[in-house]
Amino acid sequence: MSLPATSRFHAWGDPDSGRRIIVGIGEMAVADRPDDVIVTYALGSCVAVCLFDSVSRVAAMLHFLLPESSINAKRAIAQPAAFGDTGIPLLVDTAVRRGLKKSRSSVRLVGGAMVANNPGGAPPTGHRNVLAARSILWRLGLFIGGQDVGGGEARTVHFSAGDGRLLVVSGQQTKEM
């Protein structure tokens, strides 16, 4: 569904009406105030994992860069959210401690694009990130309720803690999930 440009960002993190919580690459956030909006920018091959519990109104987002932490154990200790296999369990644990209940939560994935500067024909990281997220979420007993993944363009995501809506901006297109 596309939204008219003028209404795109109204009540989505307008500083006058709520907090904008920015999640950078290799970061995560959990929000539980109804006017909080979690935002992440420039999702290329990275994947954003978004959890929402509509009863406790807890929203959680992870923006991870690579599927497996085994390629850089030191970084995984310092920044577990950089990797899917360490970041996603951490996201779920943290959200659960803040009141999210897994059995009633929705999970959505955004990102995993094939970016132009994929070096030397290496396997597309975006696709691997999406597969890794699906695998880890299955292991954690969570079903994926929706996804906006793949393609060739970076995405920006605005995630409302009030009602769980995701606004995904990619190029000239805006989509609500």
Partner: protein
Amino acid sequence: MRILIVDDSAMMRALIKRVIGLTELHVDEVVEAADGAEALRILESREVNLLLTDVNMPGMTGVELLREIARLDRWPDLVRVIISTDGSASRRDEAAELDVRCYLEKPFSPEVLRHVLSQAAGSLQS
């Protein structure tokens, strides 16, 4: 609700059982059988509401099981679902004639199985 899973692969039965456990369906019991003959013995010994069966199995196949269920005509309210690698038009037509409510092709994601279970359980209530 009692669900009967029929598949000669224990791994596949375990996966289906796990998905059932993670859904919000009110399930009293999940029973398993490795072939059609074992499934029939179970059907004759206790009430089953939802049958999930593979097609290609040693001994009595899934289609033979469904034909026998139709012939015996003892379980008119049993909701029947096929879960199979065979997605051919011919097999699907055969399934439709055997009162199969949903046809799920392998391989499938957990989300797709969950959706099929939800549809099948919905049939039970209507």
